[in-house]
């Protein structure tokens, strides 16, 4: 039941009010002066106070002022008070009272009905006021929460009204906004700011305001004028208030996913570097890839990177490869080129090598000229030998960082400031070192980038290990292949030798069997011819003489065959090939003159002496010269030359004769192969045997109708050995 305190000095008022208001359902308590009223307010805690103005002692106004101002009554100071004033009270008093907070006043005399109504209204108003205050508090709390959420959100939040003017913005969104406008302004209209015209702010807000639909961009590459590039997810949605459903503004959520993207990119770069390195075919390719990855703008992001390889034997680090601009002018030029192209991260890998060879020539040259002894006492080298990273911090003064304690004096030309050096190593080997910095980039080295570089360097070292193993396998394979080829060659030679031996054996046997009958035939024919001659019966076409001649020819063939089958060791003597050729040409001169042949000699001066069998070499050269003679007509040319080629003496016999058809070129050194009508086919076979027995080689180059060139190579340093036989080991053994 609601309680009403009536403070009035008139008893009648108490009786009337009590009689009426109790009937209305109120509980009435009474006080007869101001002081008593204040006390009862404390003790009774009435819901409403009816306070008479005119009272002895404290009047109503003074009681009210005491209630509001005395801390003693603080707990009940908000109790609604209705002032009961006397008739004729002036308006200024009423106004003053109302201003002070009195809820209502009633001018005496008033009807009880009127009093009841006012009390009822007061309760209603009071309830409303309380509700209102609760609501206000709730709204304030909500607003505080929203403000805190907005400001503390990890994303950018921006709200605009329906004309695009910013109504609320948090610090993240403000940062993005300021990066675009270049000014610190949170109260501007997105649709009217020129700087924002070509940005997602304008696009998103105008879309949402005109179409009333959400606008979403994910993984947006944001290149603001006044800050570094970043990657954003942006979402603008319409803001609707009231029941009309019309769009009253926009709310934008801006999420900066640069770091997330970078991390993803880093993983991608690393996996790509690893993969590409696994495909590299040589160590330089691996190094180039590592440097490219280190310096590619959107990759690990160093501006310069260089590699020094470790030569363990010489105890030095030798500059091998470098990537990066060599001056700030060059850096500016390259970056301008790059920024025009506006490379996006997902295109980055295809843009590998932006600071590639063409842009790094000057730095590369500088680095290649640098040799660092590893006994140097500086931190960089010490860390390298301990297989540790070394990071040199930016110098406080420009002179201290070039101090020998950090980097060796040999690196002074590179003007290293803040740099990092990372060893390239595998468990069994130190390969070298990669040094990277942000020279000309003016950005501090980032720890995550350094870790990435270290990972990339580890991949590179792995690839180098793989390549080294691969190269070893290749080398082994090559050796095996060579050994196999040599084996095959030896086998072929053996087969060839065996075949020759068989031929020789057969030839010797046949020759022997034929020689005796030939001697008989020829001997008797000769005797017959001589007898006829002695008897004066000699005739030019004496058949006996013809038999004699033919037998002589057959005997010559037999001599050749037997000569071939014989394995004469060369009787080596020290001599000069030029002298031998001079003698030979002198011997052949009459024959050349007779046939109108032009023979030219081109012999090298100071040709060293060598060991050879003069008879055999003479036989070879005579054979070659006679072949030439037979292949050319009158007026033809024959050339003989000598040349010291390495440790070989090269003898060349050339002619401009009819040449040798290609189809038979491979066969001309085979025994019994001949293109001549009366040849035995042994001349070149014997020649080759002799040259091989001298440890040399004989080759031919020939063009039909142009001529032939035979080259004989004899080693200057031939030692007497028994290894040059290749025919039958010994015919003597064979026959005996």
């Amino acid at each position: 039941m609601r309680k009403i305190l009536l403070v009035d000095d008139e008893k009648i008022m108490h009786d009337l009010a009590m009689a009426y208001l109790e009937r209305e359902g109120y509980n009435i308590v009474s006080a007869f002066n101001g002081k008593e009223g204040l006390n009862m307010m404390l003790t009774e805690r009435p819901d409403v106070v009816l306070l008479d103005y005119m009272m002895p002692g404290l009047n109503g106004e003074e009681v009210y002022q005491e209630l509001c101002s005395n801390p003693k009554y603080k707990a009940i100071s908000k109790t609604p008070v209705i002032l009961l004033t006397a008739n004729g009270c002036d308006d200024s008093l009423k106004t003053r009272l109302l201003r002070q907070g009195v809820l209502a006043y009633l001018q005496k005399p008033f009807g009880l009905r009127e009093l009841a109504n006012i009390i009822e209204n007061i309760f209603i108003i009071n309830d409303m006021r309380r509700d209102n205050q609760l609501l206000k508090r709730a709204v304030r709390t909500s607003r505080d929460i929203i403000t805190q959420v907005v400001h503390n959100a990890p994303v950018g939040i921006i709200a605009t009204n329906r004309s695009g003017k910013i109504t609320q913005i948090n610090r993240h969104a403000l940062k993005v906004l300021e990066a675009a406008t270049g000014q610190s302004a949170s109260e501007l209209s997105i649709l009217e700011n020129d700087e924002l015209r070509n940005t997602f702010f304008y696009e998103g807000v105008s879309y949402v305001l005109s179409l009333g639909k959400p606008w979403l961009r994910e993984v947006l590459f944001w290149s603001p004028r006044f800050a570094v590039r970043s990657v954003l997810n942006v979402h603008f949605v319409p803001m609707r208030t009231g029941n009309t459903g019309s769009v009253d503004g926009t709310i934008g959520i801006i999420e900066d996913i640069t770091e997330k993207q970078k991390a993803q990119l880093e993983r991608m770069i690393l996996s790509n570097i690893s993969q590409v390195m696994q495909e590299a075919r040589n160590i330089d390719e691996v190094l180039q890839l590592l440097l490219t990855a280190a310096t590619a703008g959107q990759g690990l992001g160093f501006t310069r990177a260089m590699i020094f390889l470790y030569d363990e034997e010489k105890q030095i680090l030798k500059g091998r490869l470098a990537v990066g601009p060599s001056s700030s002018d060059e850096a500016r030029r390259i970056w301008e080129e790059l920024s025009h192209e506006n490379i996006e991260i997902d295109h980055f890998l295809r843009k590998y090598g932006r600071f590639g060879k063409e842009n790094s020539a000057a730095l590369n040259q500088k680095v290649r000229g640098i040799t660092i002894p590893v006994d140097s006492d500086c931190q960089l080298v010490k860390h390298f030998l301990e297989r540790k990273q070394y990071r040199s911090m930016a110098a406080r003064s420009r002179n201290s960082f070039r101090n020998a304690a950090h980097s060796p004096a040999q690196l002074a030309a590179l003007e290293l400031d803040e740099f990092v050096s990372i060893p390239l190593h595998s468990p069994e080997r130190l390969w070298g070192i990669i040094i990277a910095d942000n020279k000309f980039g003016h950005v501090k080295l980032h720890q995550s980038r350094i870790q990435m570089l270290a990972l990339a360097a580890a991949h590179a070292a792995n690839a180098m290990v793989r390549l080294a193993a691969f190269r070893k396998i290749e080398d082994d394979n090559r050796k095996l292949e060579k050994a196999l080829n040599e084996l095959k060659e030896t086998q072929e030679k053996l087969i060839h030798a065996e075949r020759l031996a068989a031929i020789g054996e057969m030839a010797a046997h046949v020759a022997h069997e034929i020689r005796n009958p030939l001697v008989t035939i020829g001997g008797w024919a000769r005797r017959m011819a001589e007898t006829a001659c002695q008897n004066g019966e000699q005739k030019e076409d004496d058949p006996a003489r013809i038999i004699v001649d033919e037998v002589v020819r057959l005997e010559n063939i037999l001599a050749n065959v037997l000569n071939f089958t014989r394995t004469n060791e060369p009787q080596l003597v020290q001599g000069n090939i030029n002298t031998l050729i001079h003698e030979l040409c002198l011997q052949l001169k009459p024959e050349y003159q007779k046939n109108g042949i032009n023979c030219s000699m081109n012999l090298q001066d100071n040709l060293p002496d060598c060991l050879f069998d003069p008879d055999q070499i003479k036989q070879v050269l005579l054979n070659l010269l006679k072949n030439s003679l037979q292949s050319i007509g009158p007026g033809g040319r024959i050339g003989i030359a000598t040349l010291l080629r390495g440790r070989d003496i090269e003898i060349t016999v050339s002619d401009n004769g009819r040449g040798i058809p290609k189809s038979v070129l491979d066969s001309i050194f085979n025994p019994f192969f001949t293109t001549k009508e009366h040849g035995t086919g042994l001349g070149l076979a014997i020649s080759r045997r002799i040259i091989h027995n001298h440890g040399g080689e004989i080759t031919v180059h020939s063009e039909p109708n142009t001529g032939s060139v035979f080259k004989v190579n004899l080693p200057v340093d031939l030692k007497k050995t028994d290894d040059h036989n290749e025919g039958p080991a010994s015919l003597q053994e064979m026959i005996l």
């Binding site: 005796n516 001697v519 008989t520 020829g522 001997g523 002589v552 005997e555 001599a559 003597q732």
Partner: protein, 121 residues
Amino acid sequence: MTKNAKILLVEDERSLRMLYKQILSDDGYTVYDAKNGAEALEIIVRHHPDLAILDIRLSGEDGLELMGKIINVNDKIPIILHTAYDVWKDNFRGRIADAYIVKSSDMSELKETIKNLLQRN
């Protein structure tokens, strides 16, 4: 000395034996021909030839062996090794045999050598 000199000819091929006998007889030598070692040794003992011409490869025996036997009987007799093979030429010349001649239808070398050896002795 050279004319009418006695020559032992050891040759197992009849046709050759006949040829050499004829040719050397034409030149005035007395030729004793033998087709094997046994005959040859008999001639050595019986006729004391001034010179011997030996084929190296005789049917059934070795001319070199025969040469040894002849030297055992008479170590003064000049011996010409006469063969179809020319491979031993360097091996034997100047050692035991006095000459080594490869058989040829042209017998001038043989004739010349016989003449020289007989004159030498």
